[in-house]
Amino acid sequence: MKFTLSWLRDHLDTSASIEDLADKLSSIGLEVESIDDPGAKLKNFTIARVLEAKRHPNADRLQVCKLDIGGGTVEVVCGAPNARTGMIGVFAPIGSYIPGTKITLEAKPVRGVVSGGMLLSERELQLSDNHEGVIDLPEAFAKKIGQRYVDSLGMGDPVLDVKITPNRPDCTGVRGIARDLAAAGLGKLKPDQKITGVEGSYDCPIDIKLEFSQDTRDACPCFSGRYLRDVSNSEAPEWMKQRLKAVGLRPINALVDVTNYISLDRGRPLHVYDADKLKGAIRARMGKKGERFAGLDGKVHGVDDTMCVIADDKAVLGLGGILGGEDTGVTADTKNVLIECAYFDPLRTAATGRKAGIQSDARYRFERGVDPGYVIPGLDFATEMMLKIVGGTPSKARVAGAPPVSRKVIQFNFGLVEKLAGIAIPQTQARETLEALGFLVDGKDATAKVTAPSWRPDIEGSADLVEEIVRIAALDTVPSAAMPRTAGVARPVLTEPQRRVRRARRVLAGRGLVEAVTWSFIERGTAVAFGGGQDMLEIANPISSEMSSMRPSLLPGLLSALSRNHNRGFTDAGLFEVGQCYRGDAPNDQFVSASAVRAGSTDIQGSGRHWDGTPGDAGLFQAKSDAFALLSDLGFDVSKAQISREVPAWFHPGRAAALKLGPKTTLAYFGEIHPQVLHSVGLSGTVAACEVYLDALPSKRKAAGRGSFESLALLPVKRDFAFVVDAQVAAADIAKAAAAADKSLIADVSVFDVFEGEAVGKGKKSLALEVTLQPREKTLTDAEIDAVAARIITQVEKATGAKIRG
């Protein structure tokens, strides 16, 4: 909502500066988005008279001028030849910034005489290139001595742009804004002029009808009109055109300009029809499918039966409250007009506007709710202004229906201000605020009957009145009050799943991975490739097809990030994300995954080539390490879970696995991404990836204690075994068989070497185990150790078909 300062002053008697007005507007909820003040840079310069000009004592070419600056005198040094006694000029005080020379004036002596400012040329004010001498104003300016020069230039009317929140239809007109400012103490609202003498002597020759069914009649409960005969629709007066242009509207012709002007001045949209182009009666009714009209926006619009239209006997003319029609619009040649002032339902107007895709000044106001109490007064106001400008003879007003004026009545307890807002505002002040805003306050007690003005459809209850009182008193005055604390030390607030997410991030970052935050939506084809892409997860109005499917996994986003980084030259990289994914559209279909990817030469020690060892290309075992480390760190004993080779299609079938807890719960997938999938995201080589489903993890034990610690006195004994076995036999099975040989004695079995090659035969591998025996009561004898070793060999050979290497 744009308006000029002088326009505001039409309604508000104020001496406040533009800055104070703007600050107050922002403070009370009418946020000033910009002030465009073409004269702002000239505001410090005032009109002054040269009382005496005399030669500078130390310089032939300079004069010392004694100036009357209005309410005082000042001496300035001046080099202009035209400065002379009696002249009227423009004065710049010390401290002011001269736009033409980009200098801020300082008080310093000029050849021994301290200049108290300067007289200005037009070039110094950037008004023209003229620098022949200082500005020499005509004698008519004598009565403006001391006033701002910029005001005489017609550049002193700054434009304010105010953001109107959807609850304030009254402030879509300058008068409403003035009312708020007056209530806030920045001036007095000027009384509204009483309109008389606009009611004509003849009946409006055009019939106005409301043709609605019972359930659509609220679409347009009131339609008033007046006929103006014999108008001469030329141009609007200069002042009106000036204001319209200042706020960004193009003047069209006098009648249209008046409707636009009143829309801005009063928040009251109107329409004028060329009466000679109307066929029969005019009516508001619901549209019919297939009907169309040519709008004033130059486009043809179709309508349907949810939309309120204005029509004559023949055709739809426009959309009520949104857009008028081209065919019946007024032109410079128009002789007779019908002025429309109607009330359209906010919700239906909004729905229609959205459906038709039309933004208009009328819609902006009707969908917020124009003042239903200003239908007939608005018609009169428009008539009067039009009569003044285009002449003509008015008819009697014709009114179909009645405006839906319903003024909310609230039993208001003034104590609620302090209860809700925490500020004690005297009841008299609260009452004055409400009254200044147009509320009626009935009753002198702590509880009063408060009636909202017709222009405030947003007022529903007591909380709204508290807001009115507090915002006008200024929220900055509300004293801050400490919230009560629970006694003692603050307690932990995070739930276990929240702590897991938080810890997972630090663990993965602590493994050298870099956290990314990628989009929740991805391209549908990719979503399908990762097990998603269901219809229910498809956004109907995506910003682009690349961002249309809710992600089933974090991997697509991470892989695409790897690919982008690869293209920037970062080929050895590890990324992770901890975030939400979607199995379906129900709340519990959303789950949290912690996923990591590594590409190129990277492992936990670092990335890329290094003299002290360059990591190989990240693969299955980096992924497994990331996943297992994360799970362990989250307190989960990975030995309790089962490794399954069943993996989703986006993983390499031979080089990936799932970690499961029972047949139904998958805790994680880890391994290498299927090369076909890599290819589709523009990557090659191998990419190690893991996904850990944080929600699937069992809850951790609560106790903080660590259990008892057993310090064993006897030294452990280590023995190595090498087996040759079929290559596809799982190392875990071999280790498990070895461990089972003596559960009380064998403390650990670790795999320290795996070798495949000709030496062990085709399709075979050699697997070396280190078995740790932990004696508990006495040192083991060689015979005892040999016996365990023999059992280990037997067990492993029996369980896996392995042969001990000789």
Binding site: I28, A463, T495
Partner: protein, 357 residues
């Protein structure tokens, strides 16, 4: 016949040999050839029995003294040679100390600024007794709008350019939440006051330009009890901002505004001196007293319960605090950017240790 002169000359010879021994092996050989069973000193001792008894004592003492001195000399020479050998080895063991080393994963890894700031926020509000509530991204129209006092076709819905899913068989449409406020509703529907929660999360609006991304993050706060008023809200936000921006004092400006779900509503500006840029006001959040309709929509009595809510852009305050210029970079996963603006894994913010120190 051995006598003192023999012993002296033997000692002289032996000490000289020891002194000239050039390595540890030579010392060992000398030890054996002198002090060993058949060594020269041992042989002297063997003669003891051949001496007249009156000489035995003196001779024995002399040989023992010789043995002690030779032993001592051997040990001294041995330790000297050991030191020499060590010095020689160390002298030969040279490495280029300027070769670079890996700094390890704790220096390589990074936490995204949004995660870091989220952890900071939890620290601050956790201390003030707020717990963390969460809700789904895919929401119903009812929870995202209607229960928040934004009825269908309300103009406020236009401020939320909403992503919708395809209509269901019954005509209803799910949407991507446009703010974290539906979690207020979920919380009030499922939990009795007093309530103090903060809600972090992703939110979505159809918006994509230099300062908007279709996905961004908000953090929401909600307090519901029987006494909390606007003054508490101001205090809470002031304390939060001081703690978050880590300044002892700052200026804030509270402006009236409108949000359908709060009444009274206010927008809050921060004097940018807090981030070292004096002379500007920064709009940082919207807030207000929870609208009675919202409280009522959650099955609570607005005559009894009241409280405040606020919402701010997590990305925005992250950018302000850490001088991040462009929102879009947050989601571009550019390693260079992440390395520059990201945080080390052990940069865990705590109130005791400081949020960013």
């Amino acid at each position: 016949m051995a006598n003192d002169t023999d012993i002296a000359s033997l000692e002289k010879a032996l000490l000289s040999e020891i002194d000239s021994a050039s390595d540890l092996d030579a010392i060992e050989r000398l030890r054996i050839s002198t002090l060993g069973k058949k060594g020269r000193v041992s042989e002297l001792m063997a003669r003891l029995g051949t001496l007249p008894s009156e000489q035995r004592k003196a001779f024995g003492q002399s040989v023992n003294q010789l043995k002690e001195r030779v032993t001592e000399a051997l040990e001294a020479r041995k330790s000297q040679l050991s030191r020499d050998a060590m010095s020689a080895r160390v002298a030969s063991e040279w490495a280029d100390v300027t070769l670079p080393v890996r700094l390890g994963p704790l220096q390589d890894g990074r936490i995204h600024p949004i995660s870091q700031v989220w952890d900071e926020i939890v620290e601050i509000f956790g201390d003030m007794g707020f717990s963390v509530a969460e809700g789904p991204d895919i929401e119903s129209d009812d929870l995202n709008f209607t229960k928040l006092n934004i009825p269908p076709e309300h103009p406020a819905r236009q401020d939320h350019d909403t992503f919708y899913f395809k209509p269901k068989a019954d005509g209803s449409r799910l949407l991507l939440r446009t703010h974290t406020s539906p979690v207020q509703i979920r919380t009030m529907l499922s939990q009795k006051p007093p309530i103090r929660i903060i809600v972090p999360g992703r939110v979505y609006r159809i918006d994509s330009d230099a300062t908007h991304t279709p996905m961004f993050h908000q953090v929401e706060g909600l307090v519901i009890d029987e006494h909390t008023h606007l003054g508490h809200l101001k205090w809470c936000l002031e304390e939060f901002c001081k703690a978050f921006f880590e300044v002892p004092d700052l200026k804030m400006r509270f402006r009236a505004s409108h949000f359908p779900f709060t009444e009274p509503s206010m927008e809050v500006d921060l004097d940018a001196s807090a981030i070292g840029k004096p002379g500007q006001w920064l709009e940082i959040l919207g807030s207000g007293m929870v609208h009675p309709n919202v409280i009522r929509n959650c099955g609570l009595d607005p005559e009894k319960y009241q409280g405040f809510a606020f919402g701010m852009g997590l990305d925005r305050i992250t950018m302000l605090k850490y001088g991040i210029p462009d929102l879009r970079d947050m989601f571009s996963a550019d390693l260079r950017w992440l390395k520059h603006f990201g945080f080390l894994p052990l940069d865990v913010p705590t109130l005791a240790g400081g949020l960013s120190s």
